[in-house]
Symmetry: D2
Subunit: 145 residues, 4 copies
């Protein structure tokens, strides 16, 4: 790939400044996969100190987007078609990591799986997500978001 982790994070900071400000970033990637991190912050937690579901969803969504970059190139206009997430355990007390892996790369759909865990306990997933991204050419054709 002709881009770096820094390039990805620069794209996020410029295109989606709130994502950067909210502590999301790309950590690492390789062909067909990417690792994203959400840096812990005490504000915005749910009662009990839980990381809110939408924060985890946002992290999963970003991780899958980064994984799509590894096959499409740095393509900000690839958009999520659908994403489902199952919350398995409370996410408490630390950064959250999300590893996205593409299981199918089609011309009109990229499908992947995302595992999420609190940094330090990769064997205890806090959530798992699955979803599809649509590359821009096809998005234009289909009119989907």
């Amino acid at each position: 790939m002709n881009f770096s982790v820094e390039d990805v994070n620069r794209l996020v900071a410029e295109g989606f400044p709130t994502a950067s400000e909210n502590g999301y970033r790309c950590e690492e990637f390789g062909e067909g996969w990417a690792l994203a991190r959400w840096s812990y912050r005490a504000d915005g937690l749910r009662p009990g100190g839980y990381v809110p579901g939408p924060t985890l969803f946002g992290l999963a969504d970003l991780a899958l987007w980064f994984a799509c970059f590894t096959v499409l190139g740095l393509e900000p206009m690839a958009v999520t078609s659908d994403l489902s997430i199952a919350f398995l355990r409370p996410a408490i007390g630390g950064d959250v990591l999300a590893r996205a892996e593409l299981l199918k790369v089609g011309r009109s759909r990229l499908y992947g799986q995302i595992d999420l865990w609190v940094d330090g306990t990769p064997d205890r997933l806090v959530a798992q997500a699955h979803g599809s991204y649509v590359p821009p050419a096809d998005r234009n054709r289909s009119g989907s978001r």
Copy 2:
């Protein structure tokens, strides 16, 4: 129900101040359903002016939570078990509304559907979501989030 829309929004403002600050609120509810609104703001949009997927996910999640209140009472510790969302059209240029409806109320799971649209065009859904909430008693039993 012995609580009002204002009570719901006070609970959100106290328990999840960032949700209130980010423009989410309860608009209306009745037995087994609730309507939530995200007030449009230009910052934090995706390129093209699209409302980001995680913003819509957060709105769907809140709407379903509010719908659960109508059968459980004002219960902040009911938590999402799983939620899936399909993005159908770009959400552009206005407030977004989400109407959640419970299709099954069980002791250990409340399942519902959420329709999302831009205010003014209810016939053109921008997304549809489905998911489950777990009441607190059962959450304690199961250890799920």
Copy 3:
């Protein structure tokens, strides 16, 4: 539409004889929606007399396929891209009906929702499903199933 319910059922009987033999058929359709029926049979039920989940899934899948016909024409090669189903109540003691409705018709994806109930009790859904079909042209492009 230039085809009838009988045309749909003939296509099923010729292309998927086992579906017809197993009691599935199209009942009715209109632009963007279709109703499918599974005729009750005592063999193949789960203990307790429950209609098995895969039988309901198959019915949901067929209903959505029929709904796709109403916008694509009688197109046997439209294929399911993904389908999720939530089981809400036991399906016991009668025919099962499934009503599929398309919520988005794109060039590369048709997304719909399917409600399932036992004949006679439409207010008590036994399951709800959601999913996408891919038209043949796009399937060839993408290589998805």
Copy 4:
């Protein structure tokens, strides 16, 4: 575990004879996972020789049920709560294997992931599924299917 693969297959043959007759069986299992097989048969295929979606769904559902046995014991009344499947590539020309793995075992919900492939090509998934089973005690409590 105090039961064998043969015990599982005997339970299937007695409780769901049509599943056995249709070529489904348990192949192997260990704590928290199970492998199920669908034996290829030419009848009942879709045009193009594709294994139909509902056949793959049924296999995924069975594999997850078998995985639940490894933590619940041989419990025929554990029932599917929800299951979603993404079809990634055509399933053509051979037996299909499904490996289910439990990612969370709660008292009221068992959540797992299922990978499906044609025997001989485990690196090319034909489908991936995810879903939840509800143990019988909780099912009675909740009234869910």
